[in-house]
Symmetry: C2
Subunit: 124 residues, 2 copies
């Protein structure tokens, strides 16, 4: 199973590439947002899948592992049968969340106008 690359080759210190580009893959922001929205301390794997119905099970696993690697998420395995695994946001993730939520709010406000522009551009 793969994970995304560790560092950008040409600009190893570029915060946009090394930190933001990683958060900006297809699913990461959505997973963080969903974990927060749940309003609980911890969320089970299956529950996340229900909240994001069109993510594949593989990509949910990979995304969570990558988020764990970068310290946004903790993964807790309870030695039960059947197994129970819970994911929770870290303190770091909570300092990021206001910015993410601001972005989402901005996107919501501008969605209609942007989609309209996009449609126009598409017809040309």
């Amino acid at each position: 199973m793969y994970r995304t690359t560790i560092e950008d080759a040409v600009f190893p210190n570029c915060p946009i590439r090394n930190i933001l580009a990683r958060l900006c893959d297809k699913w990461s922001l959505l997973v963080i947002y969903t974990l927060d929205k749940a309003g609980k301390e911890a969320v089970r794997f299956k529950e996340l899948q229900r909240e994001i119905p069109d993510i594949s099970q593989k990509m949910l696993t990979v995304t969570l592992r990558t988020l764990e690697d970068d310290g946004y998420v903790t993964r807790t395995v309870y030695p039960e049968v059947p197994p129970r695994v819970e994911y929770a946001l870290t303190a770091r993730a909570y300092t990021l969340l206001p910015h993410v939520n601001a972005l989402i709010a901005w996107a919501l406000e501008n969605r209609d106008a942007i989609m309209e522009d996009r449609r126009k551009a598409c017809k040309k």
Copy 2:
């Protein structure tokens, strides 16, 4: 020449997927940031390439066109020889910029800690 997809199939109204995921490709944020950083009204194509040396000419073109489609950037062609084309951020882009800059600042603050976590995770 391709451009990224227009709408997300399953959640056509999801602001994260339709607006943010588009901004979060490999180059868009960096181009917006670079246009802003230049501190001018308009920036020429070649100049952008110099500022982002490892972007290919094709991807710079595609990224700029997509940003134009979504109304973040204007493209002005001057009928000269040799041709001159200038790109500028729109008002919409300027309302987005504070959020982007906040994210970049956050990434800078947390870069060392995140990279450290990432390295540890990598060794396991």
